[in-house]
């Protein structure tokens, strides 16, 4: 019976790993901005997670564990393409890329660009909280940083994003909605 339970538990874990693909992809896409790279990072994460599933002692940590793998894969990718860049390097945010005609898709692109311009550490922290739905403590664990650093990075990241959104608002004419009678 114990063997059967172990088998079922193992299968359940593997299914959870496979089911997390899209959530991992969204975070990976926010980190790298390239769908193909994001896809490769997620693939790598899933393969490693499925291979090393037996090493996961606390099954409740599955989600955080997978994002740790994703984060490590991302770091390796960064080292390959930019070996000298520090993860906390200063970023340039919101340099007035906003288009004058801001439709919804353009605002989305603007937000994405602003996220990509954040320093890597801020970008990871922000997206793990906002897209991954992780608590501060979990983010600290995934990224192996103190919780205070999580909070400061989050603060800085949102400040930068808000500046970027202000620039969108500044270039977008206010829309007035009129009520009209319908007979």
């Amino acid at each position: 019976m114990d063997l059967v339970n172990r088998i079922l538990a193992g299968r359940d874990l593997r299914k959870k790993i496979a089911d997390s693909r899209d959530r991992l992809y969204r975070v990976a896409l926010a980190w790298c901005g390239d769908p193909m790279v994001a896809d490769d990072l997620v693939q790598e994460t899933l393969v490693i997670a499925l291979q090393r599933i037996s090493q996961l002692r606390d099954k409740q940590r599955l989600n955080a564990w997978m994002y740790t793998i994703l984060s490590n894969s991302w770091k390796q990718h960064l080292r390959r393409i930019r070996p000298t860049v520090d993860i906390d390097e200063a970023g340039i945010v919101g340099e007035g890329d906003a288009e004058s005609d801001c439709c919804e898709q353009e605002v989305i692109e603007h937000v994405r660009r602003a996220i990509l311009k954040l320093p890597v550490g801020q970008r990871q922290t922000l997206t793990l909280v906002d897209l991954g739905g992780f608590s501060y403590a979990e983010v600290a664990e995934v990224l192996e940083i103190p919780i205070g650093t999580v909070m400061s990075r989050l603060y800085s990241a949102r400040q930068s994003l808000q500046k970027a959104l202000v620039s969108v608002r500044a270039t977008r004419p206010a829309q007035t909605t009129y009520l009209r009678r319908v007979k």
Partner: protein, 235 residues
Amino acid sequence: MNHSKFRAERILHAYVDGELGKSEKQRMLLRLETDERSRKRVCDLQRTKEWVQFSFEGERALSRKLPDSRRRIWAHGVIRVAASFMLLALAFGAGWIGHTVQQPGDLPVALESIIPQSQHVILHIGESDEARFDALLKKTKKILDEYSAQGVQVEVVTNAGGLDMLRTASSRHVNDIRQLIKRYDNVRFIACSKGLQRLREQGQDVRLIDGVYSDEPAADHLIQRLTEGWTLIKI
């Protein structure tokens, strides 16, 4: 921003992120009732958070079909599980697991996960190395010879440099592989479609040995098989 303002700001972030405990949240709610500036700040933070979420809403990983695990739960019976243990025990006996000697005829194998219910094996190679190709084929044949009667399935998955083993233009093992495919129904040789595409773009000859599959990227296939509980042996 001075220290106390910075602290107040971080508490607002924590409120928006659902990080406050009951009493802190109560204090915050009372503060929001009376403090117009805090209300506006929370509204800004919430909106920023929602923009981040909305900007990636609906994004899905590039289409990849994962198998339905519910069906597989009942597909493996006790006999198959027992067979898996036998195979793994024999694998230990054959010296695959944890084996690190690198010489022709032996496999440098890092078997990082042993999944008890696995009775099927993937041998994965991603490097162009003749000694490893030789050893891989030797071991593949050994598994097929000794365990086919127990229902074992074997797949040899290649990508990157490993594709050289399955391309007619580069392989020194064309006849060996053809013979294995002809002789055994339970073996499949698989070439990564993504890797082949890259080689094609470089103008290389990507014709494969007859009977080799190349329907999907190797990573997709590995994920699918690992999800199904196959044992991966990385060469």
